[in-house]
């Protein structure tokens, strides 16, 4: 008989409050590699599972700067270098007229960076994931809250971790096959 590898242990909770408390206690117990799942964004949950560094703002800033420079640069190059047209005697490099398109390009690139940057950092799209192997996990998009300790955690031990998670009073506890 082949042993299936274990991805982690998953505990199910009834409320956001219980999940945040459980995440804090798991962290205090010395576990490092864990995650939590909720049907809506829960205040303070990301910090509780040890997530502190959110790179999305930097990605958006970079996108915005690229859009801004690309937008202005494009207009300058087209209007002053590549295809200079005399329009009503205005200078080829008429910067006030270029602001609108520069602004729109800034927003466009920053917005695209926000969405695709967020998805990329989250590793999405990822159609399948070990947590989906737990049937009850379907409730994570409805009204249940889940905490998982990954088997890759140095402190992970099938029996001890199960005992610890039991002590948090979960509604159910399941082993996540890898």
């Amino acid at each position: 008989m082949k042993r299936t590898p274990v991805y982690g242990l998953m505990a199910e909770f009834d409320s956001a409050t219980a999940l945040v408390a459980a995440a804090h206690r798991t962290r205090e117990a010395g576990y490092k590699k864990m995650d939590a799942y909720s049907p809506f964004p829960v205040e303070g949950l990301a910090e509780a599972v040890g997530f502190h560094h959110d790179e999305v703002p930097l990605v958006v800033l970079t996108g915005g700067l690229i859009g801004c420079l690309a937008g202005y640069g494009m207009q300058y190059w087209i209007s002053a270098i590549s295809y200079p047209l005399n329009i009503g005697g205005k200078p080829y490099h008429s910067w006030p007229a270029f602001i609108v398109v520069t602004f729109e390009m800034t927003i466009l690139f920053a917005g695209i960076a926000a969405v695709f940057g967020m998805l990329a950092l989250n590793g999405l799209p990822m159609p399948n994931h070990p947590v989906f192997n737990v049937p009850r996990f379907a409730l994570a998009t409805k009204d249940r809250f889940f905490l998982i300790v990954f088997s890759s955690d140095p402190k992970y031990d099938a029996a001890a971790t199960r005992q610890f998670l039991e002590s948090l009073g979960p509604r159910s506890l399941s082993e996540v096959p890898g």
Partner: protein, 457 residues
């Protein structure tokens, strides 16, 4: 979130969501509309009407491609006509969606959570309808891509000093950002539908669209950051779009267009008509789908208040336009005012004043403001009024400008009307499809409104 839940529980106004709901019942109620509820005959009738009108529009556009813009009523001096009137009208309607989803999010107006989804959908469909008009109005629509800067063998490029080029960028950016905003708002709800659907194909399709969303705390954190930043980006964007549309006019020298009041007055008018459309959609939808618990009297009343406020800004715009016509001492500006009041289209100007300024003042009454029937009626009036406003700006200004030898009249043809009414049909058909296949209320944002969503220490 703390303020949100407090505003739900401790407010003296009608609640944002009726009490007694849980995460599960909110989820069931909204997702059941898509997953369980049988498609009613009324839906088929409504969608069918929209579909037939769309076909009529395609027929009118097809004939236009064969014969050219000569089939329309546009002639010199009135070269813009219905195409631009309808373009500005539809773009304006789109503005409410972004206002609700972005600006009200930044202002922490939690009541927006139950109407943002379909308001954003409305934005997308309205901007799609709007986008048709300039494309078919260019005369040679198969060359419309020349509007975009792309390297070509002719060695020509767009002329970036022209507001018409700015408009291309503003409208296409607006559509793209609105689509992205709507889509990322949908991702968690698509995951909910994926997990709750019994139909194999529905599961696969929602699954692909949800991209494997699993609600991880890390994902939510980045998601919220991205959503908030996108709202911050969409806020100046939405204000810029109608500003740029108004530049199409204001940068020109035609009397009646060449005024500095145009940008703010256009933006206010856009939000005015947009909220009118939101109400015209929300009132029947909440009734037909039994969503009165989620789209409550509070939403109707708040939307009515926004309409009242923006309507007054629009009224201020009219007053300033008239005042400047006199105060500028410019005889052409003065004549434009006279022509509006006494010219051949004067009837429409008085209709405009009645629809946009006089009739909506009944919204000062709380009783009417909270009555769905009245609101539906007044919203319709406002939409007609805002359409007339664009008609007055486009047609009446061009009709009689500097030289009376070049004066003329504009009479829309049946093709103009078929195209215009056709886009209304296309809009309706898209809305019908949307409410049938996607959750029309943001499920995950509704969950955050419940008192249980708050984390207690």
């Amino acid at each position: 979130m703390d303020e949100q839940t407090k505003s739900v529980t401790s407010s003296k106004q009608a609640p944002v969501i009726e009490p007694g709901y849980t995460f599960a019942t909110v989820t069931d109620k909204i997702s059941a509309i898509v997953l369980q509820r049988p498609t009613s005959n009324g839906w088929f009738v409504g969608f069918g009407i929209g579909f037939l009108l769309t076909m009529m529009m395609l027929f009118a556009i097809g004939y236009l491609f064969v014969r050219g813009t000569g089939i329309w009523g546009v002639t010199i001096p009135i070269g813009w006509g219905f195409a631009i009137v309808n373009f500005v009208w539809w773009i304006g309607i789109g503005h409410a969606g972004t206002l609700i989803s972005a600006i009200l999010l930044l202002l922490r107006q939690s009541w927006r959570n139950s109407i943002n989804r379909f308001a954003e959908a409305m934005t997308l469909f309205a901007v799609s309808c709007a986008g048709i008009f300039p494309l078919i109005h260019v005369g040679r629509p198969w060359l419309a891509y020349w509007l975009f800067p792309y390297p070509n063998t002719m060695g020509v490029w767009p002329q970036f000093r022209s507001p018409l080029v700015w408009d291309v960028f503003a409208v296409s950016t607006y559509f793209t950002i609105s689509l992205l905003f709507w889509f990322i708002g949908l991702i968690p709800d698509l995951a909910t539908l994926r997990d709750r659907s019994d139909n194999r194909w529905a599961k696969i399709i929602y699954g692909i669209l949800a991209m494997g969303w699993r609600g991880s705390a890390r994902h939510w954190h980045r998601y919220e950051t991205a959503y908030l930043l996108l709202a911050g980006l969409a806020t100046p964007l939405v204000l810029s779009v109608h500003t740029v549309v108004s530049f199409d006019f204001a940068v020109g020298i035609v009397p009646g267009w060449h005024t500095t009041i145009f940008p703010p007055y256009f933006v206010a008018g856009a939000i005015y008509s947009g909220f009118a459309m939101v109400l015209m959609l929300a009132i029947p939808i909440r009734k037909l789908y039994g969503l009165e618990d989620f789209i409550t009297e509070r939403h109707l009343e708040n939307s009515a208040k926004v309409m009242l406020a923006t309507g007054l800004i629009v009224a201020y715009g009219y007053v300033i336009e008239a005042f400047m016509g006199w105060y500028s001492g410019n005889r052409y500006d003065a004549f434009t005012l006279w022509n509006r009041l006494h010219g051949p289209y004067a009837f429409f100007y008085y209709m405009l004043l009645a629809c946009n300024i006089v009739i909506p003042q009944v919204l000062w009454s709380k009783k009417l403001r909270t009555s769905p029937v009245w609101l539906f009626f007044i919203s319709g009036v406002v939409l007609v009024g805002m359409w007339l406003e664009r008609f007055i700006i486009v047609v009446v200004s061009l009709q009689r400008d500097f030289l009376n030898s070049s004066w003329g009249m504009y009479y829309p043809t049946r093709w103009d009307w078929m195209t215009y009414i056709g886009t209304i049909g296309m809009f309706l058909a898209a809305i019908f499809l949307f409410v049938r296949i996607l959750p029309m209320i943001s499920i995950f944002e509704m969950r955050t409104l419940l008192p249980e969503a708050e984390v207690k220490e």
